[in-house]
Symmetry: D3
Subunit: 136 residues, 6 copies
């Protein structure tokens, strides 16, 4: 069993805002992150897959193929977007890094080729805050 | 003459959009950066001052004081904000990294203590794009 | 289950010196790290917690609260300190990165809120040496 | 149980080329990585060991000793080399990062001292691609 | 006057070898870098341009356009290549980082748009060695 | 003219303390940095030289030779040391990063070979604070 990770980058606007709450409660809970005019981040996304090495290629899987999956099913949808307004797979959810990591897992998992398994989504919101999700 | 640099961090939403142009022209010129629903970045800000070393302290200037100036006159105004909507010192300007760097220079320069000179504002918009401004 | 990590920074002086040994044996075992006049490091501290996402906030826990716990119970005690002389939670121990990571675990663990679990303390002593501790 | 990691650096040339295949098939599968005139990388190597802390030293193991093992049994063989032509422990294998990580595990594992266990080889081929191997 | 930098990445094989010298002299002068079977690097390339900000765009120049110039006139020629064998603009030269930086300047300079000036090529050969060239 | 930079690393203990002042005044001016029991840092040192490229080697100067100069005349004296107590070239000076950078310049400058000029000492005290000195 070997683990292979590809790192990709995107940037997006978002705010943390629970529509069931008053503006005051949102500001209490989320502080500056509740700014109604949005703020944003450069996100660093680490996608890790695991499996056996193919003896003919020496690859677990072709990392260019993994990069294409991430581009087609994640970056196309989130890069230079507003996470609260523009991203179908986050609709109706709080746009926290935790929920974004879980949403990215669900976007990528169906496209991983047979014989390989998605292992981890690791997502940096800032250079000092990151979330990891292992699918359960 | 010695140069001293303090690095600070903030994040913000913005879009690139010239109100004198049609939406089509904005999309032509600015591409994904013109997304009307905003996108955002983690900005890394390098502020460099220059001057002589004080023999009693060994300091060009106290770096905590420099950090306070950056916090009070820049970070308080831009961190977790929308650069187009929330930032008085960018009003009426295109919110490019170039203009943001120049605006930050103007915010910091008046507060640098006598005997020290502001040398450079360096601003990373992403880990692969940055702007430097030396005040003229 | 989601994992959330906050990265913090501190710096400190220390030496590696076993008082039960002669100076010669200390120099034999610890080399330059036994310098009786101390040396020091910038430490990068990664604190990882794990748990379920709160549907009302999208958070595992508020990362600002995690940062406060680290500041109050670790950074206040070790930042700009001498690990051998100034830090009660290291008293009587060798000031290795291994023991420091374990001590930091014990400082933080009691303050993690109910429903969340401390998962890992990862501590960089230099950019090329780090230790991880998972609590057992 | 504590985990200790040492990071080392080397650089090397290689190509991805399966001698059982035609040049066309190699170019199909490996793309630019099949360039017959070679290309190369700076590799960042993370070696992690695990075990108990020795109460007399505060160490899991002496990190200088770990560094020597990596230097003698890996870096001497791969640094400034051609992975396909110069490295006995890769003979007859595809020179992928996956196989290189596994080969490095086999080079290091026999030299880890009693009471300590090799835990992980993590190998960056570029800042955006890395492989991890845990020995099975 | 504002300075704008775009960072790009490529990797390549090379060796340092002066064909006018014996193998012994090459090994004396270049050490491990003279390995006849090649070695290689991940190169980080910083391209800095300078000029005035266009009031209609807020840009010194469109950074996507700068990225295209670098891709078309440098990366296409050097990425996943052998610098000694595959790169026309290095023909007949020692493949040092110094000469590579100067060659990259000459590749990019003619394509910089009117009103903007190429300011600096900065090239990392390893994370601990880099060269800067300002065109004279 | 080409500029070549070598990055090296060392760590050391120090305190900021002016012996002409009372302890109170030292604490007022230097805050936590005046801790009488010392604190410490990992320093990243960038040494830049400039000159012409030798057509026979493609080198400004051999970077291994530059590394040896830094090791022999700086790192041997400061690595794993107490800057206030152990370092002859800092005797009688405040151990600020500014003075340390100037002292390192004076240590390296006499050993730079003919035809090459020392250009800059850049010294990171923490990842967020650095000083540059150009020799005048």
């Amino acid at each position: 069993m070997v683990y292979l990770t590809r790192v990709e980058h995107f940037n997006a606007a978002h705010k943390l805002y629970n529509p069931k709450w008053t503006r005051e409660k949102n500001e209490d809970v989320f502080g500056k992150c509740a700014n109604e005019n949005w703020h944003g981040h450069n996100y660093e996304l680490y996608v890790t897959v695991k499996g056996k090495v193919d003896p003919d290629t020496g690859f677990l899987m072709d990392v260019k193929k993994l990069s294409e999956i991430i581009n087609n099913h994640v970056l196309e949808l989130v890069d230079h977007k507003n996470l609260n307004m523009d991203v179908p797979f986050l609709e109706g959810q709080l746009c926290s890094t935790e929920n974004l990591a879980k949403g990215i897992w669900d976007q990528i998992q169906p496209h991983i080729p047979t014989g390989v398994r998605l292992h981890c989504i690791k997502l940096y919101e800032t250079p000092r805050i990151f979330v990891e999700y292992f699918g359960d």
